[in-house]
Amino acid sequence: MEETDKITWVIKDDIGIITLDNPPENYLARPEFLPYETLKKWTSYDYLKGVIICGTGKHFSGGGKLDKLFEMIRDEENVEFLMNEGKTALNHLEGLTIPVVAAIQGICFGGGLEIALACHIRICSENALFAFPEINNGILPGLGGTVRFQELAGFPGSLKMILGGDMINAEDALELKLVDNIVPKSKLFDYTFNLLKKMTYERPLPVIHGVMQALQNARKLPRDEAMLRETRIFCELALAETERRTKNSGI
């Protein structure tokens, strides 16, 4: 197990588990989540088949402590630099070519919600609550949440959450497509872990990477370019498969 700033990393059955570990509310020790270099190092093991992000105890995360943030600004720390670091870390997480799943229970606010939004899949318990409370302190989500939330939930829904500061429950979140599934809280972690195991079980890494890369391309690139790259990945895998079959038949 490794730990930095009240966030832990452990690998179990080729699945990496990032735990926001600052109970009870798992507030982020750094408003920018964690240093990019740390996250990059943790996720660099080339045998990893998936990543889970969860919180210790009853909650996912209450986000960054705002008084801490304002204190840093008073001390003239370079907050813009730090927030960009956090964005780079979340972009790295989002760009991983293995599935990244958030297991969310209890509160998932502010920076916590931004972390969850950078995951590919979000599973929550019935008691989960989501909000961007930043507006109440005259600021806005600073780690890419305004962009990611809108991609999922559209413009009107984003206005209500980000400008209105609305808090929503698990049912509303499912309706908004903010979460993909609701499960009983006692089963949340096991469900999430098993989902990743089921998805990646028996699948060689190049195939997992291929599917994830194609999915990322479909989101980021113009349609025709994404199609071309998908076909290219397909052909690379097809050549490898042909080689494998030739070898096997030779023995």
Partner: protein
């Protein structure tokens, strides 16, 4: 007379135009496997359809009990092997031209300004499901079986299936089904949003053609739900 039927015959499919509605029938029963020859012929007719002004709609179905079991894997692997190579300047691997033609045909379907309807009986797997996903409407029989099993052959859906599937089902379900290579039935397909209606399989093509005829000119795929509601009254 409006109802003149024009049939063009190929070795792997049939193309019929009747009452202004084009009907492509995958015609290599029993499984209507999508062989390299099928793709050659399919890629020949689709660009032609795009330019045909007299067509009001296009229906795609399979002959007999099944829509299609998808690509002929050994044939496909062989074709890719034969056509593989690197660009002489960049040294990057070149995508075989027939693979490019395949996805271009699918994109043409997606972009058609007439409704494209897939009528699915029996199995609809792999590239066949990708073909159906690029259609604007999908009707299936109670007996239909769907799946993108490519990952269980160490491949991925290679003609746009990942994008189309996840757009319809959401990333979580799409990823799960694609990575697990899971097959599923008509009810499940309806539940996860990849088919629009389950219909009695014997009437599938008939209803498909009738529905195609019900959409007046000025088709817009964004209005899909409205067309379905107007026709099925639910």
């Amino acid at each position: 007379m409006a109802n003149v039927a024009v049939t063009e015959s190929f070795s792997t499919l049939r193309f019929i135009i009747e009452d202004g509605i084009g009907h492509v029938i995958l015609d290599q029963p029993p499984s209507n496997k999508m062989s390299p020859d099928f793709f050659l012929e399919f890629n020949k007719i689709i660009p032609g359809i795009s330019g045909k002004d007299e067509l009001k709609a296009l229906l795609i179905s399979g002959r007999g009990r099944h829509f299609s079991s998808g690509a002929d894997l050994p044939g496909l692997l062989n074709e890719i092997q034969i056509q593989s190579g690197s660009d002489e300047h960049t040294n990057e691997p070149v995508v075989p031209s027939f693979m490019l033609s395949n996805y271009r045909s699918f994109l043409l379907l997606e972009d058609m300004d007439i409704p494209v309807i897939a009528a699915i009986r029996g199995v609809c797997l792999g590239s066949a499901l990708e073909l159906a996903l690029f259609s604007h409407f999908r009707f299936c029989g109670e007996d239909a079986v769907f799946g993108l099993p490519e990952t269980s052959f160490n491949l991925i859906p290679g003609i746009g299936g990942i994008r189309k599937m996840t757009a319809l089902t959401g990333k979580a379900i799409g990823l799960e089904y694609i990575l697990r290579g899971k097959t599923f039935d008509a009810q499940e397909a309806l539940k996860i949003g990849i088919v629009d209606r389950i219909l009695p399989k014997r009437q599938l093509v008939g209803i498909g053609l009738d529905f195609a005829g019900s959409i007046r000119s000025g088709f817009r795929k964004e209005k899909k739900r409205i067309y379905l509601k107007n026709y099925f009254h639910q």
